[in-house]
Structures are given as structure tokens and as C-alpha cells.
Subunit: 313 residues, 6 copies
């Protein structure tokens, strides 16, 4: 029998409307043997960043914004309250050894996938450096991989000048043969935010590149649909990598590398919906949110909406 | 004779260009017997809010932003300097008794209407809970009422879980017969911001619901015009209820329940213009601005522009 | 066997030095039958406040600051890692009914005391209005009560003008005979922050009043020691009520009613140490911290230090 | 008869405890013929500042903080609710002509003094440049003037490099013979915040200089009392000039030129009390508060306490 | 030989990717005799502003944002790393004499132009008052001048009420015959942000005016192209004047006079590209950014993108 | 001949009073062969921090605050304008390899010392991890080393749990024999901010420990003087290590690990003066300032004052 009338020991008091299911209420910690719909893991690491970034705090910021929205889609008139999210927790990285941290991120994503518990996974960075171990793990488990990356930047910097930074993950993946260049789609590339050498590299490796100008001209949905269809025919698994700085600074003010002329929040959300339609899509990471630079967690709130567009099909 | 050269006792010094009329200069405190064009009242109450909100400070924040804009419409090449705004002041609510405060809000709106001094009224909340007493008063004085509500949320929560909160006003109005469900239009309903039970309730009560998806597809002006025309044929009076969280967080960062994927400021302003065209429109409330959460009063500035679109026809 | 190498499902990753015990690690949720040293309860309610306050968020802010400090006292060369804190959680108050919320606060404190599980209790407000139900509960269980209140204000306002606000708790307690005036000690009373009528009331009821001038002249420790000794002889139980606005705005910038000329953080902490020495002290509440107004949780950090001074004897 | 139950047209609603008098309630706009105790004038000008400063907004910020404190002194057990403050308003300065603005400030202070309506005056800057016209006006009306200046800086810069800036007022006053060097007392002079040439100038002109080191050694009250007595014997009128940057940045974070190692708020307030005791003190200005740089109006709150210490004798 | 391995005396350490050229790396201080592509000058003055503005800090804020973006245009697949920017530094204005400052701004722009070192110039304000001396200088050197002004405001206020403020530059230029009214194009004029008298003046002087409504209807690029072509036939030189408050407050939150309903960042950038295409364009000023009011230098970042659109043809 | 009247190409315009020397004006970049009084180096590295810290930005923040204060000591009536500061610049660390960065810090400090150009050195962190390579370099060049560390924390954590973090430098130095435990003085140790195991370690290694309680009892100057004298007799060189979190959060709000109950700014500054008196003192580092968390650079301003107390003897 409950000893208290209005207390739940160890718990904060949160008002509950009996008819509303908040997204966070559908999250349960993973336990051996159980299955769910979407697996959720935090990769709270941002020491790959060239400029110091607190993107490592994003997994907790995003999780806490999950209590602000509900499981009901007004657009589809459908409630996803039975969509089960399994939370694998956050990877314990190493305070001072980057190689060790890299290894831990890779192992943890792999261990998560190998539970075979969910059909899709969401990975919360961290800076973009986390995509390298994550995509490597997905590719090893699922076969040929295709990537749709939303980003203002190519992220194919050379590795000599600074080692494995948040500017290099896709270079590493290509060089190590984890992904074929032509299976990497980059959407949202921004003027004056990249270098000629890396643009040349991207072309040489036959990446599919879409700038903001391309998006203004043809709309983002046709681009995503076309590339999704193309990849779906060629690869075993599609991985979405969502660098929030693809979005304009007015709509995502909490990214380390903000700038004008980017996507609106509506464009981003409809693009994620379009991309997530393909069955071969098994994972999405969300990276480059630094909650300490954000305003009222706007960028984390946008991330939660992107998650819902991804999960709820 | 004025004893001072550059002083006006008790007054702040504000630079005045003789050819510019600021909106606040057209405001005069109501006095018995005088008439004006638009009546203005502050309903500074937000203890209906589930999460503590300082929306009660919005009437003063909005009023002070009225000094930032002028009465001249460049679009219509017309100056509204002779449009008289009568200010009824702010309702003195009770610090700790909500039922008493509710009563005071109701009585005050009623007393204002009964002065018969203006053709239209603007009511500045406060949280959305203030629309319940306000709409009740309008309906009692003017007859069958139609409502166009701009909002990300239905606001038809059950009353059992928390009493009369800022999530319940339209439920209360429907249940008590103040408004017919089919005379309530909700525009801007957002994905993952409502509950299935309340969406069902809205449908069952035959509300007219327009989601952000509807707006993306057909544009907001055709929706507002169609519904304005429909209501104008059926009701005696149309009341606009403007919950600022219908607007995207990038454009209205000062609402308690912000999120991505909402209206732009241009969409909101043109929608208010379109809605205000109908002669039967007699009132507009503006709610859910918490100045303590805003950035540079952006949301209050937007509210003032909405007021001008409403007043100046 | 643990299925993961670096993951704990459902948990955030926090670096752990094996030799450091953080205060939060000594907290365990209360369960029937267990005992501990200090009981902790959150009273997250601030709708008693005359000006809207988000002090209701303080229990969570303070709890989260408990992870920033350790159990080891360098001054006494003693580690309190075995001092067990039982967390009773936060009281679920009612969103719109103040009388109901008041009742729930009272019942919850009472239910906590009646577990007989701890020798001392810490109650985290909320605004100062929470002291009324809390002190009433303590007095009913423990007998004649003495109160040492640290506060810039008397908090003996009349009840007619606004009902039971955060300015009235001690008036209510005196009027209802819960505490004798002469058993109420007020320390830190500030110039130009009170009213003559309430000062007269305090004198008439024979409260012991110490202004900041008194503290400058004689030091705060002798005052606390003298009054602690005096009360200890007369009452069955001593209750400390710590309104953080007794502290200067430079040291406690997150209180709703900040001002200059108050206590330094060192004065406050040594005063709490001195007051807590008396065995009859059974409880301390900490009130009037509004985390939304604070800078880097400074005021909540100070609250945690006050808690440690109180608990660790 | 009042037409409304809970409305006062044109007014904000502010909770009123019938037994409390807030300082702002004792302020009345000056009208010809009336008399009061303290005259209040705003000198909202800061274009004298070398670095752009918004100190011109301080008069309104300080005035609005007057509603936060009451007229009752707990230290003296005395209520000053009958102390009448006459508000002369803010001087309308010129947007682009500094010589014209200087003239207007001078004329306005003079016109205020010549009303003969009050025994003391408080002048709210603005930057320190406003003291030059103000002191000139006082000296012309009252005779030989003595000045006690609380400041981290000498403010006796040369006029060649930048004209009449906020760094030159006391140089100008000395050079023009408005004040004798030996009748100028400077308290709070800070290390590494002045120049040798100006220190030499101050010594040559026989100013009385007290550094923070002097204050640490002997306490601020003995210094103020000694110099107040000395001046009182020599001059006709004493003018206090309170540059808030004499206070440490922790206690007055809103000054343009903040720094560590300054006065505490308690030191400042007791010093103002000590200085204001002398009957010949007729005026105090408060300068160098830039509300746009402040945190929660802390520095304006401190200014209001300084005003109360000055007015209420 | 370099004495240090990882130090460059007097320099900050900034990570350098050998393949990336940041815009700031293409800037070199002007020296006599050298030539470049774009000349850059800072006009750090904002004492023309009616409300105190710190727009004088914008030249340094914008310059520092130049290190955040690269010289490579992804849209045109072209790197502008060889486009040389000559930096003429910031004009040393006078702290207290506005006429002297005005003269210095004029002389400095003139001296810069007379070096004949660059084909185009960028002038960084300051408030809009700096356009008056700047345009005067350009007109004297280059002949008949045409102006494309992006602005929410006409800036043709009368000079009697406040002298030469940031609201008068274009009035002055017209009155003094520096520019013909019909050669002045104003784009982005906003509702309720101007006065009838000034709108009448603009019409009478035959300015080309485009409101936000015009832009919504026809798109901004056709407008800019049409007016650019028209001017190119009539004038010797075209000067772009970019008041950042033409942009919506969501995209340019750091302007003194922000408001809703303005341009998006994409609209602005494509408009600058379109305007800069004309060969007769020789100069662009960027004004009305107050970095102290901005969020994460968003508005300065947008200014840098506008600069790149202007320079890189 | 200077081609411009009011421009200095490539330079910002800063108002200059001919009689004032700002500290930054006495700084010159080191060049081979020149000598000076104090050497200055930036060690902008904070990836040793357990919680992500932007302390790496402190060297530039502190340097920029050097322009806010002058070289004249009012307390000693002495101008230090001829005291030459040689700036060695900031060490270029490696973005992702900590061992490489550690090596670079060590080599750079060593290279600086070996120039033999100055009698004293100031090293600007960075987090406290930079003291390890720095002290190692000093000890190798100057012989037996004594350290006076101002800190709330012992910083002798074990190296197993996280490698070489900002919590381990003094452990490493002791373990590797760089410093004898009895030659390490720790002042400002705070209650509940350390662990018993590390306190035991400190005692076992015979460190001299002074808590805040010790400082309250005896004053900080006697402690510093006694320990300075003791070390001076035993060691060849004394190194001051100033962790700004020894200071109370009200006076140094920009440290990562802030808390109440610490030193005031006056206590810190007088302690640095006392410590710097000893001739054997050759170096001081200043660490743990994270400018992104600070308020108005208060903590960097305090750091500059500490530097001046150290340099100007
Ligand atoms: Ca990226
Ligand atoms: Ca990116
Ligand atoms: Ca609503
Ligand atoms: Ca809503
Ligand atoms: Ca209280
Ligand atoms: Ca209080
Ligand atoms: Ca001064
Ligand atoms: Ca000063
Ligand atoms: Ca303009
Ligand atoms: Ca403008
Ligand atoms: Ca340390
Ligand atoms: Ca420390």
C-alpha cells in the first residue's frame, strides 16, 4: 500500500493530464530480452571539436525536451503512444583519452545493435565526430551503407592537421571504405562555409551534393525523395546524419557553427519525414547542438521534433 | 505659464519628432462618457497556467512596445493617428484566490463592454485561461459568438485533472454552451502538441481544425477568409483569440510553450489582417506571452503589430 | 551479467572518481521501514507569491546542485559519506486550487514526520508560504515549537489584502497559536524592506528581532548562539526557516526580492552551523529561490552548502 | 462614482498592502507653489562618455526600483512615509548637440533649485559628466561648495583629448573656480584605475584623496565623518557625488567601468548615512549606472538604498 | 630562424586547416602604393542615434566574424581566396564633438577613395548617420550617384527636431543636392514604422519605394534587378546602403529598431547578390548593428555573408 | 608621411588620453634578443577538464581586459609604465591529441624560460591541467621548487580514473618528484569540495593546507607571509598557482567550479601582493576561468588585477 498521499519518494512532481502521453513516457530503459520500436542512445562526446564545444551535454538536453511534446500526430490523426522507445543510456567516455573514447563509442553502438531489439535507432551526439564510430558499427552489422547527411559542411577535412575532428568523419568513412562516395548524399551545403579542396574531393569521390541554392530552386522534398529512392536500390541500409547547423541560425541558434541562409525548421522537418519513409532507413544521428549556447533549448526542441518525424511512420 | 524650460515634472524625457505619431500617443485613459475606436484592457493573470508563467506581465510589456511603432501604414498609405484607443487599465486580480480572480476578470470585461464606448476591443492576457471569462462576457452582450483561435493547441483539456487551467478555456465554453463547437475555428494546430482524446473531442464537437500541414498546403489567408465568411453568416459576433504560440519559436521566442514548425510572423500578420476584415469581429485577445522568457521583447513587438493589423482597417 | 561495456540503460554518463562521494550519492528514495539521518522533501509551490515566482522549481534546482559538492568536510577533517539522506520526493500540488495545495503540503509533511525515519528534516520550498503548513505539521508532532527565521522581512502581513501569501506565514502561525511570539526569532531584518505596522505587530507579539545593523555590531554567531540557547530551554523543538533573501543580492542573486546590504555567504553559513548545533533542532526549510532569475544556480549552490552545514554535525 | 469594480483606466494593476508605503508612493510631481522634503530630478544624459554608455536610462531604472522598497527604517524604528519627494521629471536633452544638452542640464538644475521647494535634492545621472553643470548650478545658488565624491577615479582628465567627457567634470570645476581643490574629497580611489599625471594634479590642487587601502586600514565611516566635519566648517553647502563604480563589481555589476577590489554595499550605505548627517549637505547625485549592462537591476536597487540613506535623516 | 616550436609571440593560437582560407586571411592593412579588390573601412560612430546605440562597436564585431567563414562559394564552385581586401582601419572619431566627428568620417572616406586602390569599397557603420558623409564623399569623387537602400525606414526626418540624427541622412543628401530623389531606391519599407509626412516627402521627391507588401507580391530579386538596371542607365555610380533592420527581428536580432514582418536572411542575401551584379556599384555600407543587443553575433554573421555576396562576383 | 588624417590601416580606433598608460600598451611581442620585466604566455588548453570547459578562451579574454586598467598604482603613488611585458603569444595546442598538447605546453614554457629575457613570468591557462607541464619546466630550469597554490581544491586526484585531468596536476608533480610535498602550500581549501582520501594524501605527503576557516580565523596575509618566508629558505624558486575558484562565486562568477564561502576579491589581491614580495617568486599561473560562463568578464578583470599585484613590486 502506498504510504503517501501526494508524494512519490525520490521523484519530482509533474502535473499529469490523464489523456495526454508525453514522448518521454514512452521511453523505457533497455533490459535484456525486451524489444521495442526505436532504440535511443546518447553519445555525449564533443572533444573531437576544433573549437571547444559543450555538445556533449546535448543528449540530456534533448531527452529533457522529450517531456514537452506528445505522441499524437495531428497531421495524421494518429497517436503513437504504443511506439516503444528503448533507452540504452549514455556512453561513458574517457575524460582525457580520445582513442579510448572513440573505441567506447564504437563498441557501445555495436552492442546496442546486436541486441536486435529495435527496428530503428536514434543516436544523440555529441559533435559530428561521433558519426564515424557509429556509422562504422552500423555498416558492419547491416551491410552496404548509404548516408543522407543534412549539413552546411562537407566534413571531409584532411586528418593531418588536427587528427580525427568533428570536421573529418565522412573523410574517414570514405578512406576506410566504410561508405562508397556515391552512397553519401549531402544536403544543405552552404556558401562560404567549405573549402575548394574539400569540394573537389567530394566531387572526385562522386558524392551527391545539394547546396542551399539547389534547395531554393527545387524544394527540399523532391531532392530527398529522389536520393532516398536511388540509395534504396543500391544499399542494404540507409543512415541519416543530421547536423543541426544545416538549419538557419534563426531556427537553430544553439549550434557551434551557426550562420544565415540555412534551412527553416519546416523544411528540415518535412525533409526528415520524407527521408524516413524508406524502409531501409535504420538509424539517424543528431549532432552539433551545444545547449550552453542555445536560447530556451530551441535547438533541442527542434531535435525532438526531428526524432518524432523519424520514429513515427 | 510653464515654470521650466526643459522639464515636465513627473515625466520621463522622450525625444519627439513633430511629424511622427507613435501608437501609444493615441491611447487615452477611458473616462465616463467618452467614446473611441478601440478599447484596450489588460487581463494580467497567469495563475491558470499549469507550469508557472509570468504571462501576467505581458499587458505592461505590450503597452510599452506601443511606443516603438507609428500609426502610419506604408502599405495603405494611410495614417491612423485619429484612431482613438481607450485604455481601461489592467484588472486588479486577487493574489491567492483563483475563483475571485476569475470573477473579477469577467466583471471587468463586462463593465468595459457595457460602456458602449468602442466598436472593437483588444484584451491583453495573461495566459489563455483569461479567454474563458472574456468570451463569456462578449457572448452575453453580443449574442451568438464565433471564435477564430490561432493556437498550436486545442485547449479543450478535461477539467478534472487540474481545474480551470490555461488548457481548458474552450472546453469550458463549449460545455457551458457559450459557443457552439461548429462556431469555433482553430488554426495552427501543431503535430505532437496535442492529445488524441482532445482531437477526438474537437471532431465530435465539430470544430473547424486547421493544422500547420493544412496551412503549408493551401496558405493561411484562404483558410481565414473562408472561415471568416462562414462564421459571419451564422453568428452575431466574431472573437479572435490569438495564442502567440501558434507562431514558430524563431519568431515568437517568448511564449511558455514554444516549438518549431509554426507560423512565420508574416503569416500571422496577414492572417490577422484577413480575419479582422469582417465587420462582425468585435474583439481580439492576445495571450501566452511571458516577457521574462522573451528576447528583446520580440514577442510583444509582434503582438503590437497584430494589434495594429486588427485595429486599423 | 552486464550486457554492456560502457552503457547503463536509462542513465546519463557521469564521470566518477572512486574516492569522491558526492552529496547526491548519499540520497536514497524513502521506502517503508527504512531509516536514515536526514529526511528531504520538496515543497514545489510558489503560487502563494504576490508577484509571480518560479520558486516552485527550486527543489529540483537544489537537488541537482547536490551533485556538485562532496561529503567531506575539510574544516573538521571528517567525511559524512555514511550520513544517509532519505528523499521523500516532491509534493504533487494542485494546478489551480490553492486551498487544496495547502492541504497537500501539510499532509505530506505530516506523513513524512510520522514515518519516524529520520532525526532531522530538510524542506525545500517553494516560496515562504510553504512554511505555514510545514511548521504547523512539525508543531503538532513535536510539541511547543521555536523558530529561528533568517529573513530580510517579518512576513507578518495582514491576511485581508491578499489571503495567505508568502508574506503572511508567521502571522498565521502566531494568530492560530501554533507558535508563541516570543519563540519566534527573526534574524537579518533589513532597512526599508518592511512596514511600521508589521514591526509594531512583531514587537507587540514579543518576537526577537535582529536587524542587519545588529549583526554588523555584534556579529551573527553570538546572536544565533544566544537565541538558540534561549529557545532550547523553552521549547520542545526548534525549526529553522531560511529565506535566502536574508543574504545580500551579490551572494544570492536568485531570490525574487533581492536587495543590497544583506548577509554575506560566509555569515549565512556560519550562522546555520551555529543554529544547527542544538539538539532540539529538527527541521530547516529553505525558501524563496527562483532558479529562473538566478545566475549559474549560485543561490541553489549556496542552499546546498546551507544544507550540509545543517545536516553534518 | 467609480464606474468600474476592479479597473482604473490607464493604470497597471499593482497589489497593495494597506499597511505598507512604498517609496514611489511618496513621490509627487512638482507643481508651482508646493513644497516637499527632497527634490528629485533626472539627468538622463551619457553622451559625455568616452565609451558609449546607456547610463541615460538610469533615471527611469532607478525610479522604477523605488517601488520595491518601503519607507520604514527597521534600524531606527521610524517610518518616513510623510517625507515628501517632489519629482521634477527628466531633463529633455538634445539628440545630437552636446553644448545644447549641457546648457539644458545646467538651466534645469538651476530652475529646480530656484523653486526653493525642498531642503535637499537628488540628481540621477547619466554619466559623471552631468555633475559639472549640476555642481555649477548648486554653487551659484548656495555659495562656497564642498564636494564628497565616491569614485574609483579622480575624473580630472585633460580637456584637450576629448572635450568635456565623463572623465573631466572635476577638472572643469576646479579650473573654472567653481570649487577649491581642498574642498573636494575623493573616496574610494582604486589602484590601476587612474594616471600619475592626474594623481599629481589632484595633489597639487590639494584634494583630499582616500584610496581603497586607506579604507581597509581605517574604515570608511571615520574618513567620511572627519571630512564632513572639516568641510562643514569651511563651505556653505556640501554636495555628494556618488559614482557607483566606487563599489566592487560584485555589488554594483551595472557600471560601465567595473572592477574588483572596491567597496561592499554595506560600506557604501553606511558611508552615505554618515555623509548625509551634516546639515550643509544639500544635494547628492548618483551616476554611472548603465541598466543595459546590469544584472536584475542590482545597481539601481543599490542606488535606491543610497537615496533612502541620504533622504531619511 | 624561428626560436619557438609552437609559439608566435604576440599572437593568439588559432587552428589552421591548410586547405581552408578564411575571409579574414585575405585582409591586409592598406599601405601606400598597394592595390586590392575591395577596400574596407570602419566608421564606428553611433552618437547620431536618437536612442543611445552601441552600433559603434559593429566594425570590430563584423571583422571578427570574418574569421568564421571561408572564401569558397559552393554555389558557384569558385574560391575567392585571391580576392584581396585592403583594410583602411577604423576612423578615429571625437568623443564629444559631433561636428568634428562628421568631418573626420567624411575626410577619411574621401582619403580612402582617393588612394584609387580598389574597385569597390565596404563601409561598416555605426548607425545610419554615417551614410551621409560617406555618400557625399562617393558622390564628389565618382559623379552622379544612385542609391539602393535596404531599410524598414525612409530616414528622411526633419533636421529641426534633433539635428543630424540616424533618421535624417537621406533627407540631408536630397536637400543638399547630393542625390536626386529619383535616384534613391528604398526597399523593405515596413508598415507602422514611418510617418505620413515623410512618406509624402518621399513621394514628392520621387523616390522609388518598395514596401514589404511589394516584396511579398513580386519577390525581391525582380525589384532589385529592375531598379538596378534603371539606375545603371542614369547615374555614374551606384551605392548600396544596407540598414540591417530591413531584415526581420528573427534573422537580425541585433539591430536597435527591430520588428516583425521583415526580410528573411535568404531574401536579403539574394537581393545583395542581385544588386551587386551591376558594374557601376562601387560601394556598400552596412549599418545599425548593435553588437551589445545581438544574440551570438547573428546579425554580424549575416553582415559578413552580405559582404561576401557583395565582393565576390 | 602618414597618408591619412584619422585612419590607421588595419587598426581599430581607440580613444587615447595622452596622460594615461593602459597595461596593454606596455606589452610588446617578444623578439629574439630583447629583454623585459615580465614574460607573458598563453596556455589556452582545457581539454584536461572533466566537465567540458572553455577555459581555453581565457588567455584572450584576460589580455583584452588589460586595456581596461592603467599602470599607475594609487596606493603606492607609483607608475609602472616602464615595466615592460614581453608577450610570447599563445601555445598552439593539438585539436585532438592530448599527449601532443601536453608536450607542446611543456616545450613552449621551457623555450620561453630559456630566452632568459625576463625576471618573472605569468602563465595564463587554460584549466589547472596546464600547471603540470609548466611547473615541470620551471623546476627543471630553476632548481628546487616551492609552490603556493590558491585553490578551493587539493587537485591530487588519482590518475587511474580519468588520466591527467585538471584535478591531478599536483599529484603528478609530487609522484614524479618535481615538488616535495612539504614545499607545496594550498590556501583556500573549501568545505565539501574535496575528498577524504585526497585530504589524507595531502597530509601524508606533508602539504601545508589552509582552509577557509583558517583564513577567517587568522587572516590571509599572515598565512601567506609565513609560508612565503618558510619556502624562501628551502627552495630555489617559488611558483604561484592561482586557481580562481579559490574566490567566492560572487566575486569570480566565471570559474567552472563555483561555490559560496570563498575569498573576497580584496582578500585575493592582498594575498597575491604578499606572496609576490619574495624575490624567489619567478612565476604565477592563473587558471580555471571560463569566459563563456562569466558575467561581464568579471573574473578576467580580477585576473588582470592579480597580474598587476604580481608584476608591480
Ligand atoms: Ca557536420
Ligand atoms: Ca556542420
Ligand atoms: Ca492556447
Ligand atoms: Ca497554445
Ligand atoms: Ca520570507
Ligand atoms: Ca524575505
Ligand atoms: Ca566618475
Ligand atoms: Ca568612476
Ligand atoms: Ca536607416
Ligand atoms: Ca532602419
Ligand atoms: Ca585547481
Ligand atoms: Ca579548484
Amino acid at each position: 500500500m502506498d504510504p503517501f498521499s501526494f508524494l512519490q519518494p525520490g521523484k519530482a512532481a509533474i502535473f499529469k493530464d490523464r489523456f495526454v502521453t508525453k514522448v518521454n513516457e514512452t521511453v523505457i530503459p533497455y533490459e535484456e530480452g525486451i524489444t521495442g520500436d526505436t532504440g535511443l542512445i546518447g553519445l555525449p562526446f564533443s572533444k573531437f571539436s576544433i573549437s571547444l564545444s559543450q555538445a556533449s551535454e546535448a543528449p540530456q538536453a534533448i531527452r529533457s525536451c522529450m517531456s514537452l511534446y506528445s505522441t499524437f500526430s495531428a497531421e495524421r490523426n494518429k497517436d503513437y503512444r504504443n511506439h516503444k522507445i528503448l533507452d540504452f543510456g549514455d556512453v561513458m567516455t574517457h575524460p582525457t583519452s580520445l582513442p579510448e573514447s572513440l573505441k567506447r563509442l564504437y563498441i557501445s553502438v555495436k552492442e546496442m545493435i546486436e541486441t536486435n531489439s529495435c527496428s530503428r535507432y536514434i543516436l544523440l551526439g555529441g559533435d559530428h565526430g561521433i558519426s564515424y564510430p557509429s556509422i562504422r558499427a552500423f555498416s558492419e552489422n547491416f551491410g552496404t551503407i548509404g548516408i543522407i547527411q543534412f549539413d552546411a559542411h562537407h566534413d571531409v577535412r584532411n586528418l593531418e592537421d588536427g587528427g580525427r575532428t568533428n570536421g573529418t568523419p565522412f573523410r574517414s568513412l570514405i578512406e576506410e571504405g566504410v561508405v562508397e562516395g556515391e552512397n553519401l548524399v549531402q544536403i544543405g551545403i552552404r556558401d562560404f562555409s567549405n573549402a575548394e579542396a574539400y569540394s573537389d574531393y567530394a566531387q572526385e569521390k562522386r558524392l551527391s551534393i545539394y547546396t542551399m541554392g539547389d534547395i531554393e530552386r527545387s524544394g527540399i522534398i523532391p531532392i530527398v525523395e529522389k536520393e532516398g529512392d536511388r540509395l534504396a536500390e543500391k544499399v542494404d541500409v540507409i543512415y541519416l546524419s543530421l547536423d543541426m547547423d544545416a538549419v538557419d541560425q534563426a531556427f537553430a541558434p544553439g549550434c557551434p557553427a551557426i550562420g544565415p541562409g540555412g534551412l527553416t525548421s519546416r523544411e528540415l522537418l518535412s525533409a526528415v519525414s520524407a527521408a524516413a519513409k524508406h524502409e531501409k532507413v535504420r538509424a539517424m544521428d543528431i549532432v552539433e547542438i551545444d545547449p550552453s549556447k542555445d536560447f530556451r533549448d530551441m535547438t533541442s526542441r527542434l531535435a525532438v521534433h526531428a526524432m518524432m518525424r523519424f520514429m513515427y511512420q
